[in-house]
């Protein structure tokens, strides 16, 4: 119990960020029209690709002779990059079509 409490204490800022972000996330997309559900989901999908940063850190810290970490980390970087790059490109393709309607 002490352990968990001290974890909270040591990460006070982070816990605050979590709580505020939950409200912000709900607030930000609260009034989205259903037309945009798919692109919005796709865009959010790309944003959680931020996990790639964790993969880069893992990779960059692994000792050059620790092959398990190197291989898994390498895989994580590839997967994370596909998530980010593919996610943003797909979203852009979807939204491109919405734009055309004006012309």
């Amino acid at each position: 119990m002490q352990d968990i409490l001290s974890f909270f204490y040591n990460h006070e800022q982070y816990i605050y960020i979590v709580v505020l972000m939950i409200f912000l996330g709900i607030e930000v997309i609260g009034r989205v029209p259903s037309v945009l559900h798919t692109p919005l989901m796709s865009g959010a999908n790309a944003i959680h690709g931020v996990v790639i940063i964790g993969a880069i850190i893992v990779m960059g810290k692994a000792e050059p002779d620790n092959y398990a970490a190197l291989i898994l980390g390498f895989l994580a970087v590839i997967l994370g990059t596909i998530n980010v790059v593919g996610g943003f490109v797909v979203t852009d393709r979807m939204l491109e079509m919405f734009k055309k309607k004006k012309g």
Binding site: D3, I4, F7, N10, H11, Y14, I17, M21, I22, L24, G25, I26, I29, S34, V35, L36, H37, T38, P39, L40, M41, G43, N45, A46, I47, H48, G49, V50, V51, I53, G54, I56, I57, M59, G60, A62, N66, A68, L72, G73, F74, L75, A76, L79, G80, T81, I82, N83, V84, V85, G86, G87, F88, D92, R93, L95, M97, F98, K100, K101
Partner: protein, 482 residues
């Protein structure tokens, strides 16, 4: 200096995520919002590569590996995203989501290696400092467990959802499956709690058992859910991955990961609920009351639906040509046949003949909310011709011909008047108010919910069998000749 600059970059990136998401929820600014978020992401990635320092001031190494991974990932990502057809968009999103989940799970696994290495120093693992910086190590263990569980459920679930949407995996459920699922979940939880308090050299391998069970749970969790509900499931898994990414933020004291992850987790959860609302179903209903089981029961009772009548292409063309108002109801059949362009052509020809043509868009027509809007926009259909459901339902009363193109469950009157129907309560397009309903389908096979549609047997309704693209082509030719 480096560290301070990195902090500023991370702050900027976090802000772009929030602004980007905000702009994405408005049609006019959506595309720009996506680009802004992408720019922020690029900034965060490159800043991490070049500026990151750990607590002892050491930068990253293994640049070759990192660059290689980034390049391979980028090439694969761009290629698949560019190549995918508009109709296959939903499963693409699901697959990308799975990749993110797998990435998060892998990070947790690697960090667990490190953690174990630190705890039991005789093991040949690498000792990293970050994990022992804080005395609240049990907190880190919780975070790692959460990361691996949520990440692998999201990965396995997304892959199954992807397979289901592109037809590679069929619906599959067995008796008592929910019980098995709950049991697995309980075992995962119990093992996690046990591991938290009894971590030792003899128990540390349990972590990998939890990993495998989580993968199994992801598979079994998505398996019984009907294909029509996949968008909801993908959205839910999307928010899961967000949470998994946020776990990484805790592990590395990295605020941009935390912000991005939680933001997506919260927004994704709300989006999931909004999608459920569009179908007038609760999330619980989608996840537990899987379509498959209840549908087979109703199937038997409504099988004797009676007889339907067919209409020839020329008769349908005639009816539409001399109508005052025609409303087209597009569904997944249109998407599968890639018939949006020819559909637009038919619309133009009819308009030249003085017929008012509009489209009625059900919020969940196709495989994903907004799917039809995207497809029709691709074919240059004017935005103001698309009617949302409530508006369309007012219009049907004064409509001469409704042309249903490969839609089924969204026009099934059972949703209004048959309480035993699995889709009862879902708002539908009330096409039966029009004078004539022409339904284009490939066969009499039921739609995704697996239930009969009494609309097809009503006297007002005529069936026009065939692939949507072929039928529309014939209709265009016929109307031209009139």
């Amino acid at each position: 200096m480096q560290k301070e600059i990195l902090t500023v970059f991370y702050l900027v990136a976090s802000v772009t995520f929030i602004v980007g998401l905000k702009m994405l929820s408005n049609p006019a600014s959506a595309r720009k919002g996506n680009l802004i978020a992408a720019g922020g992401m690029a900034l965060a990635i490159f800043a991490t590569i070049f500026l990151y320092q750990d607590e002892s001031g050491k930068g990253l190494h293994n640049y070759g590996w990192i660059a290689g991974g980034l390049i391979i990932g980028s090439i694969v990502g761009v290629m698949t995203a560019k190549k995918v057809k508009m109709t296959a968009m939903p499963e693409m999103v699901s697959l990308f989501n799975g990749m993110g989940g797998a990435c998060a799970a892998l990070i947790s696994i690697i960090e667990y290696h490190h953690y174990i290495g630190v705890l039991f120093a005789d093991r040949p693992f690498i000792i990293t400092e970050i994990l022992l910086v804080s005395e609240g190590t049990i907190g880190y263990l919780i975070i790692m467990l959460l990361g691996v569980i949520i990440g692998s459920v999201s990965f396995a679930g997304s892959v199954i959802a992807w397979g289901k949407l592109n037809g590679k995996i069929k619906d599959f459920s067995f008796k008592g499956q929910h019980l098995v699922n709950i049991l697995i979940l309980l075992v995962i939880l119990a093992l996690s709690v046990y591991l938290l308090f009894n971590l030792s050299e003899s128990t540390y391998l349990l972590f990998y058992l939890i990993f495998i069970l989580s993968l199994a749970y992801g598979v079994l969790f998505v398996f019984p859910i009907g294909g029509a509900d996949m968008p909801v499931v993908i959205s839910l898994l999307n928010s899961f991955t967000g949470v998994a990414a946020a776990c990484g933020g805790f592990l590395y004291n990295n605020k941009v990961m935390l912000t991005g992850g939680i933001l997506v987790g919260a927004a994704g959860t709300l989006l999931t609920i909004l999608m459920c609302k569009a179908m007038n179903r609760s999330l619980k209903n989608v996840l537990i009351g899987s379509f498959g089981t209840s549908a087979t029961q109703t199937n038997n009772t409504t099988q004797s639906g009676g007889s339907y009548k067919e209409i020839s292409v020329s008769d349908a063309a005639m009816a539409m040509n001399y109508a005052n108002k025609v409303i087209i109801v597009p569904g997944y059949g249109l998407a599968v046949a890639q018939a949006q362009h020819i559909c637009h052509e038919l619309e133009k020809i009819l308009e030249q003949r003085g017929v008012t043509v509009m489209y009625a868009i059900h919020p969940v027509a196709g495989r994903m909310p907004g799917h039809m809007n995207v497809l029709l926009a691709e074919a240059d259909v004017s935005y103001d011709k698309l009617l949302e459901m409530e508006l369309a339902n007012d219009e049907f009363k004064s409509t001469d011909v409704v042309l249903v193109l490969g839609a089924n469950d969204v026009v099934n009157p059972a949703a209004k008047n048959d309480p035993s129907s699995p889709i009862y309560g879902m708002p539908i397009l009330e096409v039966e108010h029009a004078k004539l309903v022409v339904v284009n389908k490939r066969s009499m096979k039921p739609g995704y919910a697996g239930i009969e549609n009494e609309l097809f047997f009503q006297p007002k309704t005529s069936m026009l069998f065939g692939d949507a693209k072929g039928v529309l082509q014939q209709l265009v030719n016929e109307v031209k000749q009139l």
